[in-house]
C-alpha cells in the first residue's frame, strides 16, 4: 500500500518534471513517417491535436535530430506567410484592384525631370521572353500588382467612405512586421518556458539511452541494425565529450596555449572566408546592376548573378569551415554550435552586403551632391523606380532558392539514391544515401523568411509567393526524406537549438526592420512610380494625414510622440522587464530546489518502506534478525 502511494507520488512528481526532449530518431522510421503523414499536412492546420505528452513534446520542439521539428517549423512559417498575405491582400491589393477597375488604371508620366518610367518592353516581344520576364521580375511582371511601382497614390473620399491607399500601404507594412514579431516572440516564450521547467538536459543521459533507447516495436533486421548503430553513436558522442573534458583538464600549459592560438587563428581564417564571400557578392551585385539591360538567356544569368554567388558562397564556405573545425578540436556539441553560428553569420552577412550594394548604387554612396543623385535625390538614370528594383532582387532570391532546392532534389538526391542502391562498388557504399541534415535545412528556411520580410515593403505579393514556395518545399522535402534519405546515424544533442533558431529568425526580422525603417524614414521615394511619389519620404504621409483628424485625436497622437510620454514609458518598461527577469530566475531556482526535494522524499519513503517490510517479514518468522 505504501509502495503504491509512493509510486503515485513519484509518478506525479516525475511527470511534472518530465523532460520533454524527444529524440525523434529513436522511433523507428515507419512511425516517424506515419506521424508526419498524419500530423504534418500543411492544410491540416485547423485540425486539433490530442494533447498527449508526446504531442506536447512535439510542439515544444526540442531538437536532437528533430526531423519532425523541421517540418513543424515549416508549417509555422507557411501559416505566418499566409496570414500576412491575407493582411496585405485585404488592405492593399483588393482596394487597389477595386479602385483601378472602378476609376482609371494608373498612368505613367511621360514628361518631367524625374518622373519618366517605362517598364513595359517596347516593340514585339518574343514568346519565350515572357518566361524569362517571369523569372527575372521584369517585363510584364514589373509593372503589375507584384511590385511597388504599380500601386497608385489613390485617395478616395466619399461622403460615407474614404480610403487612402498610401496610408494603407504603409500601415499594412508596419502592422505586418508587428504581427510577425508577436508570433515569433510568443513562440520563443513557449520554448523558453520549456527550457526553464525542464532545467538541464544532461541529467540521466546514459540511463535513459540504455533503458529507453531500444524501440521494441522495431521490425526487421535492417531497422534493428540501424537502431543498434544509432544507440552506439549516441553513447559514443556522450563518451567522446567525457573523454574530451578529461583530456582538456589534463593538458599542459604549453599544449593549451597552442590549442587556443590555433583556435584564434582558425577564427580569423573563418572571418576571412566570410569576408571574401561578401566581397564577391558585392562585386557580383555591382556587375549585375551595371549589366541589367542585356536581353535573353545571358541577361537572365546576369540578373541572377547575385543569387548564384550567394548560394555558391553558402555552400562552399561552411564546407571549408568544417575542415577548419578538425583543427580546433572542440567537443562534438560545441563543434555543431560553432558551425551553426558561422553558417548563420554567413547567410545574414551575404544578405546585408546585397542590400548595402543596392543602397550604394541607388543613393550614390549616400552622397546627395553627387552628379547622378543631385536632381532627384537618388540615381534616377539607373533606377527610375528603385523600390521595384529592390523588390525584384528579393523576388529573384526567393525564386532562385526554390529552383535550387527542386534542382537538387531532381538532379542530385534521386540519382544519388539510385546509384547507391543499384551499384555495389565500394565508393558508392562509402558515400551512401543522403542524410537529412536538419540544421542547414532550418537555416535555409530562416534565410528565406528574412528575404521575404526585407522585400515585403517593395513587393507586396512576396508573402503569397513565399507561402506557395514553402508548401512546394514541404512536399519536396517529404518526398526526399521518405525515398532518398537514410535516417541520421549521428544525432547530436542540442536542447537549446529550438530557441537558437527562433533567435536567428528574430535577428533576421530585426535586419528586415532596419531596412524598412531606413527606407520609410530616410530614403527618398521614386518620383516616377508608387503610392509615395509626391513625398520626400514615405513617413511624411502620416503627419500629412493626421491634419485631417479631429483635434482630440491629434492632441493625443502628438502627446504620445512627445518626450513627456516616451520617457516615463521607457522607465516603466525597464521596471517591468526587471520584475519579469527576477521572476524567471526565482522560478528556475525553485525548480532545482523542488527536484532535489523530490529525490529526498523518495529516498526517505523507500527507507521507511524497507524498514517496515523488514519488520513485518521478521514478525512472520520464528526467529528474526531485523
Amino acid at each position: 500500500m505504501l509502495l503504491f502511494m509512493l509510486l503515485n507520488v513519484c509518478t506525479v512528481g516525475g511527470s511534472y518534471f518530465t523532460q520533454i526532449e524527444l529524440n525523434m530518431m529513436t522511433k523507428s522510421s515507419d512511425v516517424v513517417k506515419n506521424d508526419i503523414k498524419n500530423n504534418l499536412n500543411p492544410f491540416n492546420i485547423f485540425k486539433t491535436h490530442k494533447t498527449s505528452p508526446l504531442t506536447l513534446g512535439l510542439y515544444s520542439w526540442n531538437f536532437g535530430g528533430g526531423v519532425q521539428s523541421y517540418f513543424l517549423f515549416l508549417k509555422f512559417l507557411v501559416i505566418l506567410n499566409f496570414v500576412s498575405f491575407l493582411l496585405i491582400g485585404g488592405f492593399v491589393l483588393i482596394p487597389s484592384i477595386v479602385f483601378n477597375s472602378l476609376g482609371e488604371p494608373p498612368k505613367l508620366e511621360s514628361s518631367g525631370n524625374c518622373t519618366i518610367y517605362e517598364p513595359n518592353p517596347q516593340g514585339l516581344v518574343v514568346f519565350y521572353e515572357y518566361f524569362l520576364h517571369l523569372l527575372s521580375g521584369t517585363g510584364f511582371i514589373e509593372y503589375s500588382y507584384m511590385f511597388y511601382g504599380y500601386y497608385d497614390n489613390t485617395v478616395v473620399e466619399d461622403s460615407s467612405f474614404s480610403y487612402n491607399i498610401p496610408v494603407a500601404y504603409l500601415s499594412t507594412a508596419v502592422f505586418y512586421f508587428a504581427f510577425c514579431e508577436y508570433l515569433l516572440i510568443s513562440r520563443m516564450g513557449k520554448a523558453t518556458r520549456v527550457a526553464v521547467t525542464t532545467g538541464g538536459s544532461d541529467v540521466s543521459n546514459y540511463s535513459l539511452i540504455v533503458f529507453t533507447g531500444w524501440d521494441f516495436g522495431c521490425l526487421g533486421g535492417k531497422a534493428t541494425k540501424l537502431k543498434q548503430r544509432n544507440i552506439y553513436y549516441r553513447l559514443q558522442v556522450d563518451l567522446e565529450e567525457e573523454r574530451l573534458k578529461k583530456h582538456a583538464a589534463s593538458l599542459t600549459m604549453c599544449k593549451k596555449v597552442t590549442l587556443y592560438s590555433l583556435r584564434v587563428l582558425s577564427f580569423f581564417v573563418a572571418l576571412g572566408l566570410v569576408a571574401a564571400a561578401c566581397y564577391s557578392i558585392f562585386e557580383a551585385t555591382k556587375f549585375s546592376q551595371d549589366n541589367s539591360d542585356k536581353e535573353g538567356i545571358l541577361g537572365l544569368i546576369y540578373e541572377y548573378l547575385p543569387s548564384i554567388v550567394i548560394t555558391a558562397g553558402n555552400f562552399l564556405v561552411p564546407l571549408l569551415c568544417d575542415q577548419l573545425a578538425l583543427l580546433e578540436k572542440y567537443s562534438p556539441s560545441s563543434t555543431v554550435i560553432v558551425a551553426l553560428l558561422r553558417a548563420v553569420i554567413l547567410r545574414l552577412a551575404s544578405l546585408c552586403i546585397l542590400l548595402f550594394t543596392l543602397w550604394d548604387q541607388i543613393t550614390c554612396k549616400g552622397n546627395q551632391n553627387d552628379d547622378e543623385c543631385n536632381e532627384c535625390h537618388y540615381n534616377y538614370q539607373e533606377y527610375p523606380c528603385w523600390e521595384t528594383r529592390v523588390g525584384q532582387e528579393m523576388y529573384k532570391l526567393t525564386l532562385f532558392d526554390l529552383l535550387v532546392n527542386i534542382a537538387l532534389l531532381v538532379l542530385v538526391e534521386f540519382p544519388r539514391r539510385m546509384v547507391v542502391d543499384n551499384t555495389s562498388c565500394k565508393l558508392s557504399q562509402w558515400v551512401g544515401r543522403q542524410e537529412f541534415v536538419v540544421p542547414s535545412n532550418v537555416l535555409g528556411l530562416v534565410y528565406g523568411q528574412t528575404v521575404v520580410w526585407t522585400g515585403a515593403l517593395f513587393c507586396p505579393l512576396l508573402p503569397l509567393l513565399n507561402t506557395a514556395k514553402f508548401v512546394i518545399l514541404f512536399y519536396c522535402k517529404k518526398i526526399t526524406l521518405f525515398y532518398n534519405c537514410r535516417p541520421a546515424l549521428r544525432t547530436f544533442r542540442s536542447t537549446s537549438s529550438s530557441f537558437f533558431f527562433l533567435a536567428v529568425l528574430l535577428f533576421g526580422w530585426i535586419i528586415a526592420l532596419v531596412v524598412m525603417i531606413y527606407s520609410v524614414a530616410v530614403m527618398h521615394p521614386s518620383q516616377a512610380c508608387g503610392p509615395f511619389r509626391s513625398f520626400d519620404n514615405m513617413w511624411q504621409i502620416v503627419p500629412n494625414s493626421t491634419y485631417y483628424l479631429p483635434d482630440v485625436t491629434k492632441e493625443f497622437i502628438f502627446f504620445i510622440g512627445s518626450q513627456a510620454f516616451s520617457v516615463p514609458l521607457s522607465a516603466l518598461s525597464c521596471v517591468v522587464m526587471c520584475y519579469v527577469i527576477a521572476l524567471a530566475s526565482i522560478h528556475g531556482r525553485s525548480v532545482v530546489m523542488l527536484k532535489a526535494q523530490l529525490k529526498l522524499v523518495c529516498l526517505s519513503f523507500f527507507f521507511i518502506y524497507n524498514q517496515m517490510f523488514n519488520s513485518f517479514s521478521c514478525l512472520m518468522q520464528p526467529i528474526c534478525y531485523p
Binding site: N205, Y206, F211, T212, C218, T224, Y232, C602
Partner: protein, 183 residues
C-alpha cells in the same frame, strides 16, 4: 472465422485483459506457430506449452536482441516455453493499454539477467552489449555502466533496484511508446 464461442469460457475471457477481440487475434497467432500442438478448444484449459524456438521465430520478436529475456520473463518455467496465458500476458504488457508501472516492472525484469531483483553491473554490461551488438570496447562499456549507476542509483548500493528503475523511467517521456510491440 470459426466458432469463437467454444474457444474460451466466460471466466477465461474476463481474465484476459488484452482487450476484447484482440485476444482472439493473439490466440490465432499463438496457434499459427504450431497448429498441430494447439487445439482449437480451450475451455478445458489444456496444458500446452510452445517451446522457446517457436516463440522466438515470430516476426515481431525475431530481430529483437532481448527476445530471449522477454520469453524467459513471461514464461512460467523461466526457460522461455510459453503457455497461452503467458503469451497473452506478454502481449498485453507490451500493448499500448498497459499502465506505465506495469511496463516498468516487466522492463526491469527483462533487464535483470540474473534474476536477483537488482540490475547490477553485469546485467548492465549484458544489456549494453545487446544494445550495441558488442561494438563498444570494454573500457567504454565500463564507463557507461558507471555513469548509469551514478545517475540512477538513489539508495547508493551500487546496483539498481526496482524503485530506482521506476524513478528513472518516470523521467523518460517516450518509454511508453518504445516499450510497445504492435501485433
Amino acid at each position: 472465422m470459426g466458432n469463437k464461442q467454444t474457444i474460451f469460457t466466460a471466466q477465461q475471457l474476463d481474465a484476459y485483459q488484452v482487450g476484447y477481440g484482440s485476444h482472439f487475434l493473439l490466440f490465432y497467432r499463438y496457434r499459427d506457430l504450431a497448429p498441430q500442438l494447439v487445439p482449437l478448444d480451450y475451455t478445458n484449459q489444456p496444458d500446452v506449452k510452445l517451446p522457446y524456438e517457436l516463440i522466438g521465430s515470430m516476426p515481431e520478436l525475431k530481430d529483437n536482441p532481448f527476445r530471449q529475456r522477454i520469453a524467459e520473463v513471461f514464461s512460467e518455467d523461466g526457460e522461455g516455453n510459453m503457455t497461452l496465458d503467458d503469451f497473452l500476458d506478454m502481449f498485453s504488457v507490451l500493448s499500448e493499454m498497459a499502465p506505465r508501472d506495469l511496463k516498468a516492472y516487466y522492463a526491469f525484469k527483462i533487464y535483470d539477467f540474473n534474476n536477483d531483483d537488482f540490475i547490477c553491473k553485469s546485467d548492465l554490461e549484458k544489456t549494453l552489449n545487446k544494445l550495441t551488438r558488442n561494438e563498444l570496447t570494454e573500457d567504454e562499456v565500463k564507463m557507461v555502466c558507471e555513469k548509469v549507476i551514478d545517475e540512477a542509483d538513489l539508495d547508493n548500493d551500487g546496483r539498481l533496484s526496482l524503485e530506482d528503475f521506476q524513478n528513472m523511467i518516470n523521467r523518460a517521456p517516450d518509454f511508453l511508446s518504445t516499450f510497445h510491440i504492435r501485433i
